[in-house]
């Protein structure tokens, strides 16, 4: 299967188009089947993936606009492989747990389209193709938030769209400048990201371009102070919208940092470590505090999700293999854990139509299975050892410790603060006596919900105990990325900061 990446990208889109014909009553099964096939395909990709090879695999390249250097160029390496699998997995799980009944057909079709764009972003190696999928992903999400959301859904959907759209247009200008610089250097137009990696730029160019790209990516992540769209989007989105948004869409931003900014602008990235680290630090601590002040369960998780994204950014900017590999791994675990948490809140929302913590209490007695899974996921979110988050968070922080111990220690408070707000959420809603009479008769998880949630728990614990199958390929690609950046760096400071393990080994 040479074209497995194309199949992965376009299978959901074709399925979505055909889905218009499928009858309303059978669309659920259709959606789940399609998502399952897609997931199976992505697992196959993993099986046939060579974990010891650091470069791009399954490369496909067809010129689209040769005179302007735009091509249909796909490829996958250890960094993107698992995010692709995360996307297909979360889509499958989300569809299994889907409890929406209004207009289910439109929703499933838009989720399948969304799946196409998500996979597309992570396997594109052409900047324009990347941009196409990046922008297209906004459209189904706009619809999902706007049509099935809460009272402020239209406002939230438009805010989400405009914020990201504006940011990415600035990134587009950056891409055009980059392509022009490449043209000046080589005499050929190219938007190929791997070609761009090879371009050496003077520091001041790098800094400006870094800023242009960073604005686009930072809005998506979302970095402080561009994060204000996210709580609205999460607050209003239906469960599946929040799950996909938190688990996959936000990762596009951090993935973009690893794929675009770091290798393209190594010197500027090093130059900007401190500003970015301080922004991340504000993001980590400030949103953690805001999370503690929330009364709505979903908002707590939304803010905690921003806070954790801060740690991911911090890990990425550690500029050493531990930090970057850790941050990539943390992207995966954050996807699984925050996806699961949003799904769990959705479960209770379906039953009670409220998410306020004050409405609950003693849920563990009424719904023991639910309480158990929630407990596991709360622990995972806090970063308890033997869960997936621990590995990622620990590695990210270890990586950044080499850059700045003080900032790392401050960022480490995120674990403490995280424990505070997550555990207090758990205490308020799940422990104690059943105060509210309405909660007495709540039904425990049904089959669909159990299947979806237990599979997430399984992954969390499995990769928490034995992360090697995933961490191995990530490490291979990240190490080659870091040594590439080390070679490419032109300033002395960057050479010193970017530390590939190979050189350290040689030094010893």
């Amino acid at each position: 299967m040479d074209y497995i990446l194309s199949i992965l990208v376009f299978f959901p889109a074709v399925a979505a188009l055909l889905g218009f014909i499928v009858s309303k009553d059978s669309i659920r099964v259709y959606g789940i089947t399609v998502a399952f096939i897609e997931f199976a395909l992505s697992l196959w990709l993993w099986l046939s993936f060579d974990g010891d090879y650091a470069g791009m695999q399954f490369v496909e390249s067809v010129a689209l606009i040769p005179s302007f250097g735009i091509s249909y160029y796909l490829g996958v390496d250890g960094i993107s492989l698992f995010i692709v699998i995360l996307s297909t997995f979360i889509t499958l799980v989300g569809l299994i747990a889907l409890s929406e009944t209004r207009n289910v057909k439109n929703m499933i079709i838009s989720i399948l389209f969304l799946e196409m764009t998500m996979v597309g972003v992570f396997v594109s190696l052409d900047a324009i193709l990347f941009y196409v999928f990046w922008e297209l992903s906004l459209v189904p999400m706009l619809y999902i938030i706007g049509a099935w959301g809460g009272n402020l859904r239209v406002y939230a959907a438009i805010k989400f769209f405009l914020y990201t759209f504006a940011g990415s247009l600035i990134m587009l200008v950056g891409m055009l400048v980059m392509a022009y610089l490449y043209y000046q250097a080589t005499g050929v137009w190219s938007f190929s990201i791997t070609e761009w990696h090879r371009l050496l730029l003077p520091l001041d160019y790098q800094i400006w371009l870094f800023i242009a790209f960073f604005i686009g990516l930072a809005i998506k992540i979302p970095m402080f102070p561009f994060h204000t769209w996210l709580p609205y989007a999460h607050g209003q989105a239906p469960t599946i919208g929040s799950v996909i948004l938190a688990a996959v869409l936000l990762k596009m931003g951090t993935y973009g940092l690893v794929r675009l900014t770091l290798p393209m602008f190594p010197d500027a990235s090093v130059y900007m470590i401190m500003p970015v680290a301080i922004l991340s630090l504000i993001m980590i601590i400030y949103t953690a505090m805001v999370a503690y002040a929330q009364e709505d369960m979903k908002q707590v998780i939304a803010y905690s999700s921003i806070s954790h994204m801060g740690v991911i950014v911090l890990g990425t900017f550690a500029m050493n293999p531990e930090g970057i590999a850790g941050s990539v791994f943390f992207m995966l675990s954050h996807g699984i854990v925050s996806g699961a948490l949003f799904m769990l809140v959705g479960v209770i929302y379906d039953r009670r139509h409220t998410k306020l913590m004050s409405e609950f209490g003693g849920l563990a007695k009424v719904m023991p299975k639910y309480g158990l899974i929630m407990g596991i996921m709360v622990m995972a979110s806090v970063g308890l050892p033997l869960t997936m988050s621990f590995v990622g968070e620990f590695l990210s922080l270890v990586g950044f410790y080499k850059v700045s111990p003080i900032i790392t220690i401050l960022a480490g408070t995120s674990i403490i603060l995280g424990a505070v707000y997550m555990l207090s959420l758990y205490r308020k809603s799940f422990f104690g006596e059943v105060v509210n009479e309405k909660n007495r008769g709540l039904k425990d998880l049904n089959k669909k919900e159990s299947t979806a949630l237990w599979s997430l728990v399984l992954v969390t614990v499995w990769l928490g105990i034995y992360p090697k199958p995933v961490l191995g390929p990530i490490n291979t690609s990240v190490e080659s990325l870091v040594s590439f950046m080390h070679q490419k760096a032109i300033t002395q400071k960057a050479k010193e900061t970017i530390k590939p393990t190979v050189i350290e080994r040689e030094a010893k």
């Binding site: 218009f20 689209l64 606009i65 040769p66 005179s67 302007f68 207009n103 439109n106 324009i128 941009y131 196409v132 922008e135 297209l136 906004l138 459209v139 706009l142 619809y143 706007g146 049509a147 859904r153 239209v154 959907a157 438009i158 769209f161 405009l162 759209f165 504006a166 247009l169 600035i170 587009l172 200008v173 055009l176 400048v177 392509a179 022009y180 043209y183």
Partner: protein, 495 residues
């Protein structure tokens, strides 16, 4: 005593006139047919017009690039051929919109189609010459026909629109006359290449007077291209004209005017008349930004599209200001891609045209009309949404590629600030296009049985819409071949 002038037929090179003659004779033929036999159906006239335009197109394609003819008045260079092709193809795509299932007053008159073909001929004259007088004649022929076409819609609003357009057009014509007069006074010629030679030979001595002349010309084209602050007529005229004609007006007259502007300003810009470049810069930024901001508050989709087309014109005007070959090619590419999308968007409005004004006492297409369209007519809503996303510049739909090329041209000529302004404007414009999507997808339907969206639809109209959806979605595949042709024609004529 005057010397008798002997002119041989070959030196006239009448072939250069053939395309316009085809259009004009076709127009006259339609009127003659009506004299012979009354009460023929509009479908006959539509098909005849398409056939005439087809012959016209073939005549244009057959032209030798780089010729002059008819006392050297006609100039057939690359952009003349290219823009004529665009004008004719756009006309061929728009004229079938007359085949509505409802009866409309204007289409029952053969004069409508006769005037339409005369107008096309006028635009062709406008682009195929560098003689300011012939430009003027072409412009006025086309405009007078267009005013009448608007008024034939036979509603109070249409008369108002036609008169408004006429007055503004007359004012523009006056400015054009003044501008050309000053150029003539300076150089003793009305032919642009001679004007250029004389000015260059004199080293741009009388710069102040020249700039006064240029100011007049900028104002004249400002009216035609609806650049801010000369744009005030646009929304009202679009509102009064039928949607089909409004769509036509947003594409064809503007490409003709762009070509003239390109001819007039290109040599001034390339000989570094900094003042002109600065004025155009300001105009471009104003046009993009103010039109966008005004579009935000519109209550009617057609008025919104009017402001949006002003803003798109500003975007494209930037290409002329930048003045490189890449920018000029991008201009034509952008306009072809814009044609695909705008054709579809206005055709969608056109099929939903209805007599009773249930939603709003004034507007035909208020946003409320499209509330919850996804639940009533999912396909229609998705199609309209694709057009809106394309207009907003969301990839991979057609206009994105146009924007990409123009922004890239800006970046390559070190206008990075301009590229950023364009980016920000695209983001602003996304809001008002999204507004329609929000109404269609996110609001629940008001009482509405769905027939209204397709009240006017017939097979030909649906075909046109289907075609433009197809072109809008798969534009990326067409960019490379189109860019090849466009760049060839633009380079051949030295722009």
């Amino acid at each position: 005593m005057l010397e008798p002038i002997s002119v041989s037929l070959e030196s006239l090179n009448l072939g250069t006139l053939a395309p316009m003659l085809v259009a004009i004779c076709g127009g006259l033929a339609i009127i003659i047919i009506d004299l012979i036999k009354k009460d023929l159906d509009k479908s006959l006239y539509v098909m005849l017009s398409i056939l005439v335009l087809f012959v016209d197109l073939m005549a244009v394609i057959g032209l030798q690039v780089g010729e002059r003819g008819f006392f050297d008045i006609m100039l057939i260079d690359g952009i003349a051929v290219l823009s004529q092709i665009i004008i004719i193809v756009a006309s061929m795509l728009f004229i079938p919109l007359a085949l509505t299932s409802k009866r409309f007053h204007e289409f029952s008159y053969p004069e409508f189609f006769g005037l339409f073909l005369l107008m096309v001929g006028g635009f062709q004259f406008m682009v195929a010459t560098d003689n300011l007088i012939l430009v003027f004649i072409g412009l006025e022929t086309a405009s007078l026909a267009l005013y009448t076409l608007i008024a034939m819609h036979n509603r109070e609003k249409s008369f108002e629109a036609a008169i408004k357009y006429f007055i503004m057009g007359a004012l523009g014509a006056g400015f054009f006359g003044m501008g050309s007069m000053i150029l003539y006074a300076l150089t003793g010629s009305v032919e642009l290449y001679k004007i250029e030679e004389v000015l260059a030979a004199g080293g741009y001595q009388n710069l102040t007077i020249l700039l006064v002349g240029i100011s007049f010309l900028i104002a004249a084209f400002g009216f035609k291209l609806s650049l801010v602050p000369f744009h005030t007529w646009t929304p009202d005229v679009y509102e009064g004209a039928s949607a089909a004609l409004a769509g036509y007006m947003s594409v064809v007259p503007k490409i003709a005017a762009f070509v003239v502007v390109l001819r007039v300003f290109e040599f001034l810009i390339s000989s570094n008349v900094v003042w002109l470049r600065d004025v155009l810069y300001v105009l471009v930024v104003l046009t993009m930004t103010l039109a966008n901001i005004m579009a935000l508050v519109q209550k009617d989709v057609k008025r919104m599209l009017a402001f949006s087309s002003i803003s798109h014109a500003g975007f494209v005007m930037a290409a002329i200001m930048i003045g490189t070959t890449q920018a000029h090619s991008a201009l034509f590419l952008y306009w072809v891609l814009f044609l695909f999308t705008n054709l579809g968007a206005f055709a969608m409005l056109w099929v939903s045209r209805h007599k009773e004004s249930k939603w709003h006492e004034r507007f035909d297409h208020p946003y409320e009309k499209f509330s919850g369209m996804i639940q009533i007519m999912p396909v229609g809503a998705v199609v309209m949404a694709i057009f809106m996303l394309s207009l907003a510049g969301v990839p991979p739909f057609s206009i994105f590629w146009g924007k990409l090329y123009i922004m890239s041209a800006a970046v390559n000529s070190d206008y990075i600030i301009l590229a950023l302004i364009m980016a920000i404007n695209s983001a602003i414009s996304a809001y008002y296009y999204l507004k329609l999507i929000v109404y269609m997808f996110l609001k629940s339907p008001e009482e509405n049985d769905g027939t209204v969206y397709m009240k006017n639809a017939s097979k030909p109209l649906q075909t046109i819409i289907g075609l433009s959806v197809f072109l809008t979605i798969f534009a990326v595949l067409a960019v490379e071949p189109m860019m090849g042709i466009i760049t060839y024609y633009v380079e051949v004529s030295g722009f």
